[in-house]
Symmetry: C2
Subunit: 455 residues, 2 copies
């Protein structure tokens, strides 16, 4: 029988699509155009509605050695979800049920639940999902597969810390349940943590149990203006050392915030300073929130900060976060690549110095901003009409600088398909060998997201 017929038998006629037009939203992601891998030409989009269907699809794909590309919200920045070989795009969008377990402070969500839906559903139950990895159209499966970070990771860490249980389907079709509604589990090797961050190359995530927090009684966003970037950056470790634990500490520059606000049809209201720290404070009482906010403002003042903007109403805070979250999309058309190097938090000052030096050397702009509290900076390589070699050298020099400071080439976006060669350069051979062998255990026929992660 033809493949499409086999697949239609599993999920129903309506949910197998081959018409290129209808595939348009499924073959790309948010990776900058210049470096984005090209999607294959012969693709079948399949939309299963449950785990059993996912399993049956994978069994067929494995039998016929057909590549399968798991698909979430498509907001990745490393080409991880782009189907680069002829095969199946497996969209989890119909698996979007979510249930809140208020008693255990957890959400049980299928892979296709969007970040937006997770946040809202938690809020309706008077609970809170602290993490905010940018684009809210991202889906749970993708957030976990890429171990997403983003803003608001300072207080409770990155996605990995939130995942308590997973249901996964192996490329060979078996369904495994890992972890549970549990805060502690030491029964055997932790395969769940191996799956987290494996970028859809080891298994398809179909369901997850996610830790939530009680709603914070009081939150505020501080916009703290500085005249120069070193002062702003240098005050970050001091905030953390000062015993303050904000949800987020972001570094941004005025020019970018203004440009992004304009792009969104809004106005950026802070006119002072050339750059800012955006700090989100969340506490269990307004008193404590104000205490922490004052402490932060004071520390920053010692580093030359001007009077902060203090935003307390939800809509004001949301607007600031929305503008911050849209910087990337605003710049996207002008850029070659967006990096997410991460260094020890206390070394971001040095990293910024290096970035300045490299920008000068290459006679280019290198807009930099990001999750300063995590040592994680987004550095954009801008389109200067130069050749491939120029960009490659520039990129390598930034990677080298980060690694030299004890950092990593990717703290958030992952390897996907665009950083595979770089991973080879910065990871030692033995470690790559172990990765390859692990891939073989889970996916003996290399059908799951081939060309991603593993060199």
């Amino acid at each position: 029988m033809e493949l499409t017929s086999l697949l239609k038998r599993i999920v129903g006629d309506r949910f197998v699509l081959t018409d290129r037009e209808k595939l348009e939203n499924y073959i790309l992601d948010e990776t900058p155009i210049h470096i984005r891998p090209r999607p294959a030409s012969n693709l079948i989009l399949v939309k299963p509605s449950n785990t059993q269907e996912v399993s049956e699809i994978l069994k067929i794909a494995n039998q016929y050695r057909i590549p399968v590309y798991p698909r979430g919200g498509g907001s990745g920045l490393a080409g991880g979800a782009i189907p680069t070989r002829n095969g199946i795009i497996l969209s989890l969008e119909r698996m979007n049920r979510i249930e809140i377990d208020r008693e255990n402070l957890m959400a049980v969500a299928e892979a296709g639940v969007t970040l937006e839906k997770l946040i809202k559903t938690a809020e309706e139950a008077e609970l809170f999902f602290p993490l905010h990895p940018g684009d809210e159209s991202a889906q749970i499966g993708g957030l976990i597969s890429t171990n997403a970070g983003g803003t608001r990771a300072v207080k409770f860490g990155i996605m990995r810390n939130y995942v308590k249980g997973l249901e996964i389907v192996l490329p060979t079709g078996e369904v495994l349940r890992l972890g549970g509604r549990l805060q502690k589990n030491n029964a055997g090797y932790d395969l769940m943590h191996l799956i987290i961050g494996s970028e859809g190359t080891l298994a398809i995530i179909t369901k997850a149990i996610i830790k939530l927090y009680p709603k914070f009684e009081a939150t505020a966003t501080l916009v703290i203006p500085f005249e120069n970037r070193q002062d702003a950056i240098n005050s970050v470790p001091k905030i953390l050392q000062g015993g303050v634990m904000p949800l987020a500490i972001e570094y941004v520059e005025r020019e970018l915030m203004e440009k992004t606000a304009k792009h969104l049809g809004e106005v950026w209201q802070v006119k002072e300073g050339r750059c800012y720290l955006l700090v989100i404070v969340a506490e269990q009482s307004r008193e404590e929130m104000l205490n922490q906010s004052l402490k932060i403002a004071e520390i920053c003042k010692n580093y030359g900060a001007m009077e902060p903007l203090f935003a307390e109403p939800k809509e004001d805070q949301d607007r600031i976060l929305r503008i911050r979250s849209n910087i990337y999309l605003t710049l996207k058309s002008e850029m070659i690549d967006t990096l997410d190097v991460t260094v020890p938090p206390a070394s971001i000052g040095k990293l910024i110095e290096e970035v300045d030096r490299i920008a000068e050397k290459y006679d280019t702009r290198l807009p930099a901003y990001g999750h300063a509290g995590d040592g994680n900076l987004h550095i954009h390589i801008m389109d200067e009409g130069r050749d491939e070699e120029y960009y490659e050298k520039l990129r390598s020099e930034i990677y080298d600088a980060a690694v030299k400071l004890g950092g990593t080439i990717t703290g958030e976006h992952g390897i996907g398909k665009v950083r595979v060669r770089s991973l080879m350069k910065y990871m030692d051979e033995k470690q790559l060998e172990i990765m390859r062998k692990i891939k073989e255990i889970f996916d003996p026929n290399n059908i799951l997201n081939p060309e991603a992660v593993i060199p």
Copy 2:
């Protein structure tokens, strides 16, 4: 050349020991005697002083297929460290250097650093290591290998959450560096998280980078007395849902606290109630600490709690924690086994009901206490002079009850060598198969802690 001579050449004559008398402290751990595996008779104790020496020892062991048993503080409760075959005991005790990176709020500690030293060194730098997995003679390598939990895991989670970087030596001798002084790292599969909790079967941990927290300005320990256990237990999820985030929520019974205090030559001062919640509150201001303490006391009052004891001076708090931490050792001589089943936190009430039912059915006592905030209970099977079959049935029935509630057979102690058969029963075959293959990748000749974890 003889093996001992080869080893002496690596670490020096003084640090290779074969005299059984000198090995006494290295061949057992804290596992209850009744279930404790028997150590082998022909053992060599080796004490390397650095990573290079560890690597050389492993190369030799791998070449001659000699079992190697990594050794930390020996405070394990599942026989994980007991050398059950003739071979090498590799004690990391001489690798006990520690350095505090105040700027990044991290400790860089060799595997042999004790929990006590980690806590003290952090304190001297005005920082704080929140976790407290019981016995302070435990060593970093063991804490990570077993993904230790214990008390004080409610606010920031278990050991896994604290580990940011690892240096490991593979059984084949290669040294790998995983992670770093980083809050975010998504470069390839996370082998670091696979090593955490693998109980010394995949690699030897030689060094770790551990996240610390700023010192809390104000802490207190509340002892909240209840007349009956269901009331105490049922108030736990309400505390967590109430937006309070204490460091620890422990459930204990008066009889056990009195007995343990006596064992330590102290007096347990709370005379009211048959059981208690011990809650440790830690906040950045005294105001907030008092707020949270009041909120907790109020919630518990709704469940029939009596007036709490409020301990604020450090020595008072330390005494309460010390008595709590010594319950196990006090009971040890009378017990057959100590379980650490873990269920969804909101289900501990049901678990306790099941434990009561099982105790009645088997006509025995089942002292139960533990980390109620994590759904993690220690249930002791007491020595009743019965036969093996009786205890095995009793144990199985407790496991069954926990698993039925969505729980796991071990939330803390791990599989070690005493729960391997149980793991087989409760884990599906495919998952065991993956574990076995992962073991093969790392340790092709099965020299590293054989007979542990993998069935």
